[in-house]
C-alpha cells in the first residue's frame, strides 16, 4: 500500500462492514449466499490494495467461487429461508464485545504495516530469499519455493487432509444416487 492507494482502504472496509451487517440481518438464505460472494470480492479488493495479490486471488477463488457453489448445493438439500428472527442474547453480545475489544487491544502492540523492523521481515525471510537461488534452480518466486520445496511435506499433508475430506463427502453424498437411477 502506497500513499496514493491509502484513501481507498477506508471505503472498502466500510463496504465490508455494511455487507457483513446485511448478511447477518438477511432472512432469505439465497440472497445471503449472493451477498457472501460479494463480501469475498470486497475482501479480495482490499487484500489487493494491501499488495497481497496471491492471498486476494485465493479469497476470490475460494470465497466467491467455490463456497458460493457449495452453499447453493447445501441450500438445494435444505430450506431457502431462515425460520425465525433470532432474539438478541445479551450474555452472548457482551462476550463478543469483550472478546473483540481484547483482540483490538492486542493489535496495538503489533508492528506497523510495512515496518522494516517487524519480526516477520527480519527473522526467517532473508535466509529464504538468499538461499532460494542456490537451493532451487531458477525459481523466481520465493513463495512458491517455500510452499512446494521447503515445506513440501507440510503441503503434502494438507493435500492429504483435503483429499480425505473430499472422499468422505463424496461417499456420504452417494447414498442418494440409487434413487435417481432407479426412477
Amino acid at each position: 500500500m502506497t500513499e496514493s492507494t491509502q484513501f481507498i482502504v477506508i471505503p472498502l472496509l466500510g463496504l465490508l462492514a455494511a455487507t457483513a451487517l446485511t448478511v447477518a440481518r438477511m432472512r432469505d438464505l439465497w440472497a445471503a449466499v449472493m451477498l457472501s460472494g460479494i463480501y469475498s470480492f470486497l475482501g479480495a479488493c482490499w487484500m489487493m490494495v494491501l499488495d497481497a495479490p496471491d492471498v486476494a486471488f485465493t479469497e476470490a477463488a475460494v470465497g466467491a467461487g467455490i463456497s458460493t457453489v457449495l452453499m447453493l448445493a447445501t441450500l438445494s438439500h435444505t430450506s431457502r429461508t431462515a425460520k425465525s428472527r433470532p432474539r438478541i442474547s445479551w450474555p452472548a453480545l457482551i462476550v463478543v464485545i469483550v472478546t473483540g475489544s481484547v483482540l483490538a487491544y492486542g493489535t496495538l502492540d503489533m508492528p506497523h504495516y510495512g515496518d522494516p523492523d517487524a519480526p516477520i521481515h527480519r527473522f526467517p525471510s532473508p535466509t529464504y530469499i538468499e538461499k532460494t537461488e542456490h537451493d532451487v534452480h531458477d525459481m523466481p518466486n520465493v513463495v512458491t519455493v517455500v510452499l512446494a520445496s521447503y515445506r513440501g511435506y507440510d503441503t503434502l499433508g494438507e493435500t492429504t487432509v483435503i483429499f480425505t475430506a473430499a472422499v468422505a463427502v463424496t461417499l456420504l453424498m452417494r447414498i442418494r444416487r440409487p434413487e435417481v437411477t432407479a426412477s
Binding site: 502506497t2 496514493s4 492507494t5 460479494i38 470486497l42 490494495v49 457453489v69 438445494s76 431457502r80
Partner: protein, 105 residues
C-alpha cells in the same frame, strides 16, 4: 488525480450494486448485482495496478473475470435447474421450465 476520480466512481457503483443486492426483490436483481460486483472488482484491480505502477496485476484481473464468469454460470445453472447434475437428467425430473425458479424468487 484522474485515477482517483475513477476509483471513486467504481466505489460508488459498488455501493449501488450492494444496495440492489440487499434490497432487490427478485433473484435476478441479486444475481445481476453480484455479477456486477465481480466486474467492479476487476476494474478496481486494474485501476489500482496502474495507480501503484505494477501492471503485472492486470493478468490477475483477467483471471478474476474468468472466475467471476464461471461462478455466475454455476449460479445461473443452479437457479434454473435446482441441481448441479446433468441438465438432461434435471429436465427429465422437473420439466423444462424448472420449478425451482419460482421457489426462490
Amino acid at each position: 488525480m484522474l485515477y482517483g476520480l475513477v476509483l471513486l466512481g467504481v466505489v460508488i457503483t459498488m455501493c449501488l450494486a450492494l444496495y440492489r443486492a440487499s434490497q432487490g426483490p427478485t433473484v435476478f436483481d441479486r444475481m445481476l448485482a453480484a455479477n456486477m460486483f465481480g466486474t467492479k472488482t476487476v476494474l478496481l484491480i486494474c485501476i489500482v495496478s496502474f495507480l501503484i505502477d505494477r501492471t503485472d496485476f492486470l493478468d490477475l484481473a483477467l483471471l478474476y473475470s474468468l472466475m467471476s464468469f464461471i461462478g455466475m454460470v454455476a449460479v445461473l445453472r443452479f437457479s434454473k435447474y435446482g441441481t448441479f447434475a446433468d441438465v438432461d437428467e434435471a429436465i427429465d425430473q422437473s420439466g423444462p421450465t424448472g420449478k425451482s425458479l419460482r421457489d426462490v424468487s
